[in-house]
Symmetry: D2
Amino acid sequence: MEKIAVGVIGATGMIGQNYIKLLDSHPWFEVSYVAASPSSANKRYEDAVAGRWHMETPIPERARDLVVGDANLISQAKDKCRLVFSAVEMDKASVKELELGYAANGFAVVSNNSAHRHTDDVPMIIPEINPDHLDIIASQREKRGWDSGLIAVKSNCSIQSYMAPLYALLKAGYGIRKMILTTLQAVSGAGYPGPASIDLIDNIVPFIGGEEEKSEIEPLKILGRIENGVIVNDVSIAISAHCNRVPVIHGHTACVSLEFDGKKPELDEIAAIWRDFSGVPQELDLPFAPKQPIIVREEKDRPQPRKDRDLDKAMAVSVGRLRKCNVFDIRFAALHHNTVRGAAGGAILTAELLKARNYI
Amino acid sequence: MEKIAVGVIGATGMIGQNYIKLLDSHPWFEVSYVAASPSSANKRYEDAVAGRWHMETPIPERARDLVVGDANLISQAKDKCRLVFSAVEMDKASVKELELGYAANGFAVVSNNSAHRHTDDVPMIIPEINPDHLDIIASQREKRGWDSGLIAVKSNCSIQSYMAPLYALLKAGYGIRKMILTTLQAVSGAGYPGPASIDLIDNIVPFIGGEEEKSEIEPLKILGRIENGVIVNDVSIAISAHCNRVPVIHGHTACVSLEFDGKKPELDEIAAIWRDFSGVPQELDLPFAPKQPIIVREEKDRPQPRKDRDLDKAMAVSVGRLRKCNVFDIRFAALHHNTVRGAAGGAILTAELLKARNYI
Amino acid sequence: MEKIAVGVIGATGMIGQNYIKLLDSHPWFEVSYVAASPSSANKRYEDAVAGRWHMETPIPERARDLVVGDANLISQAKDKCRLVFSAVEMDKASVKELELGYAANGFAVVSNNSAHRHTDDVPMIIPEINPDHLDIIASQREKRGWDSGLIAVKSNCSIQSYMAPLYALLKAGYGIRKMILTTLQAVSGAGYPGPASIDLIDNIVPFIGGEEEKSEIEPLKILGRIENGVIVNDVSIAISAHCNRVPVIHGHTACVSLEFDGKKPELDEIAAIWRDFSGVPQELDLPFAPKQPIIVREEKDRPQPRKDRDLDKAMAVSVGRLRKCNVFDIRFAALHHNTVRGAAGGAILTAELLKARNYI
Amino acid sequence: MEKIAVGVIGATGMIGQNYIKLLDSHPWFEVSYVAASPSSANKRYEDAVAGRWHMETPIPERARDLVVGDANLISQAKDKCRLVFSAVEMDKASVKELELGYAANGFAVVSNNSAHRHTDDVPMIIPEINPDHLDIIASQREKRGWDSGLIAVKSNCSIQSYMAPLYALLKAGYGIRKMILTTLQAVSGAGYPGPASIDLIDNIVPFIGGEEEKSEIEPLKILGRIENGVIVNDVSIAISAHCNRVPVIHGHTACVSLEFDGKKPELDEIAAIWRDFSGVPQELDLPFAPKQPIIVREEKDRPQPRKDRDLDKAMAVSVGRLRKCNVFDIRFAALHHNTVRGAAGGAILTAELLKARNYI
């Protein structure tokens, strides 16, 4: 199979760098175009990120010599790629317009940005949960007059650790009414430079701007249904989130208490549901799909970010400490790698799904 | 006023060291006796803690030359002090017996240990909340045949940040039905050595042995009432706790969601209730009493352990991020200094209350 | 004694905030004026630093209501204070001009900025070491036509931990030929925000811009002599520095190897020289002077930043691990609090010396 | 090629776990035997390390079901393996005897323990530096009456980052007279649990027991020569080390100042020597050999532990900040992964060399 040429828009930022790193030697995709702000344009990629390459592995050989394009000049991407991963960091309105522009010009856009998360014909995909939301792309293209273009987005990183466990229970037939959760989030989620050392040595910060709102709203869209060409969020799960920043490099942990709606499974049934959970990415054996999307830990003190975040290509969610809740029904701790499963890796898996379903 | 001679039993451990530090130049109490395990006995205190003094300030001058007694030999404490702070670290049964022995020998025992927390005639005191639980000492003495002896204990450190906010609301007439909370606890709460660096660099641990159980049960006793010489825990607040260890030296943070029982105050009324909250220690102007037991922070990202733990002699609780909860009624973050307010400092305040009420 | 009115120029930055904190209830000085960039001008100080007050203690009451002036408008400081502490953060040329402007307008300027450190008639003072360099102020005033104005500066924070130990040996008659040292420096030395968390969690950075050069050159001026109205740096000690940033909040540690020039003292003599070292600030009993400028630790693993930085108002230097060097003569570890002794506290001590010697 | 059966003695400790992890899917070796203290004996390996597996990756499938032997009963290893990696943690005398016992029974022993580092007929190998020290095995066997048995050891982890750079210069013909260095060492070097969190949050510790002595003595043996069946350490390089513990998980950094003996190369020549440096492991293309043993970083702020420790299977040393020294000739920073290159990985490379040279 010939590899599909892909571009990374916003390639010099931290999420962009993650794409460059994760796409290196991808079996289906090949990064053939990188773009960034005008100040980086026309430089070799290696030069453009000199002194600010933040990955733990060196810049992939292939990417070093790519000449950086101007992300705002969509025409520069023409003939260079068919799909772009958008990791741009601009104001929301500009991102919206830019991503629409790429799609209108025939590009499949898979975005990490939050700008289009609540555009009602744009699917917000977690491939194991709502792969069929891609069906809305037909309406999207029709309504907007696009032929091959499309936009799909990923959700906020903070929710990824508990969305799969939550969905697995729903899929098994257990309704969920209420969820109160507290996150302990890693600094890489804030991009570069992110929180200052002086604020996170011997300290935690009990606030992350906008994160709690996203944690409470985005799950509803992901669990929503398509009706008349838009995604309807009429799921009635009440969610309340407390989001904290902690001195961890990668890996968001969530402490979750959950109340069922109707019948209540036993703890060992829940563990079995999670262990057995599998979705379309597993069925299709997509390259970035973890074998087991949810890993259930039996140890009393797991999951832990540094020890569990990298499991199964950093694409698996780890769940542990499943026990009865004194107030709701159950409680547990969940963990995922925020810059892989929760960001670039999740978006790559979505792109693989798009490819498998012939959208690109 | 002549100072009251006090002893510290378990003086060489971390909590014991905190007593030695905090009692230095106390206006009412003077450490005239220290005791520890037989291996430390007969050494000068300075020598006994050589290489394991963990406080940030030097060993107080006065304490250096005290000769360490054997904590098991109660007779050694005779004539040296009238009150002992118990910071012993032994198995529960031994602690129980030892503390009973000191009390039977006429000593007032104020303990940090959990052994007697659920002995039904032993008060578990947070001086701003349940000072009147000291009334049970009359029954305690009568039943056990003690004349001047007594035992009072402090609660677990994990609950101190939200107990005062909780109680202030109850006192203002607002019933509370449910509370779900997640703690981010400092390493000093685990004593020395506590968690290994390799487990808390770039990591958090979502488990602290026994801590969740204590967090769920102890509040009920503190809010209980005396009936027929025992403390009855018939308060019906359901509490569910998730306890995490984070890389912070001192200061336990709690993220709390709370549901009222009956009428629900507005957010600004709650803030006012907390700001205005005051108890017996403030009324009596006890030396270790913070002027304002609850400090309400308006900044969007406070309280934070390193920045707020030391407020008002590290005896004030800081509360912030008060906002509506999507699932319950309100949510907020609370913080206290676990080794001062939550341990030695809280016990010293209890001792001051005992003195002010003429129990010693 | 009536307090001397002082101003803090650059009062909203991190060093400026340190001045505001440390000068609170100073027995001689009273902050009666604060100035900052035009964007902060005309705000109450409390409002100007809202959301970026980085001290561990609250903003002092007195400072909250001070109206912030524009640091560039020297006339605004007139009649408000006689001495200004300069903590401005601008390009070097602008600082130079601004500080000259204040001095020309009659203000005593004590500066943390590096701009004038190598101006040959400006003394760079460590009060225990070169108090007599203040004598150059006469020439400074004469040459520049100033009446009451003056400029004195402090050195870079990185060198403060070993300068006093070094000088004590010189003063005792032991020449020093060579010194190789490695620093492990705290993040507060970099101002706010300083290093990103993501660069200092599970990491150290073996580079601090400009720090090694300053560490190698500034000691020579401090140890220099006045000749013909300028300070001559003809001391011939060769110094080589490796400067590292480590995840510590406050406290710079230096590992020093040192070769004597000529006779070589025994280790116990050196310890005695350091313990007995005392300077003009101690003689004059200045408010910020530590009783013992150099504290010698006997424990095998001290000094340590978190445990020793606060000794004696955070103005004492701690030295430990004195032992033979396999290559030079001796080696040791030294520590000081970089934002107190090494920055604002050191400058306040210099101002006290200026006052004691009637320069203000 | 059929794989060689190897054993890991001391397999449940942290270094032992590293062997189990690193040897998983090794092309030449297969772990067929594990042994530990009597308390772990007869358990499945997975059970023996339950709750104390400290690697970031799961226990390799193959190792889980191995039954742990008693390390003291050498007969249990018979017929199970030909080579044992010794990672035992006992008193020095016991280790010495035990390792001699294994060798006497025909096993090739490659040890991480320091017990035999200064036994004069035991080679201390860094495969890129002194592979020919293996020649002493002939005398070792003859003198001790062993047929197939042998002992080879690795050096202390602290010295690995600068030994290759040092040796590369010697090999290029530049003599070295003096070296003063300061290390910033990771906590994993101390085994488990190692330093307490409370000692390394917002702190560094300027002392590691025994480490400075090892850093100063071991290089001399590694650079020594074989004469009359013993290794003679008559190299005359004076080394002085300051060893510090810093809050880093893996990766020891060294700041080195170095004086040449005789002619002095230019900086760019030194960089070229390091870049071009290659040894026997590279020549033989051993599985664990890094392609480039010394990686020279040009960035001003590298190497850094978290970013560079994993380069080339964590077996390469990274060197940066090469510059003139004000006191000696040059200075630089060097880094290596202490538990891979500096411990288990280095020993595996030595075992590969033993195999390639037909000692096993």
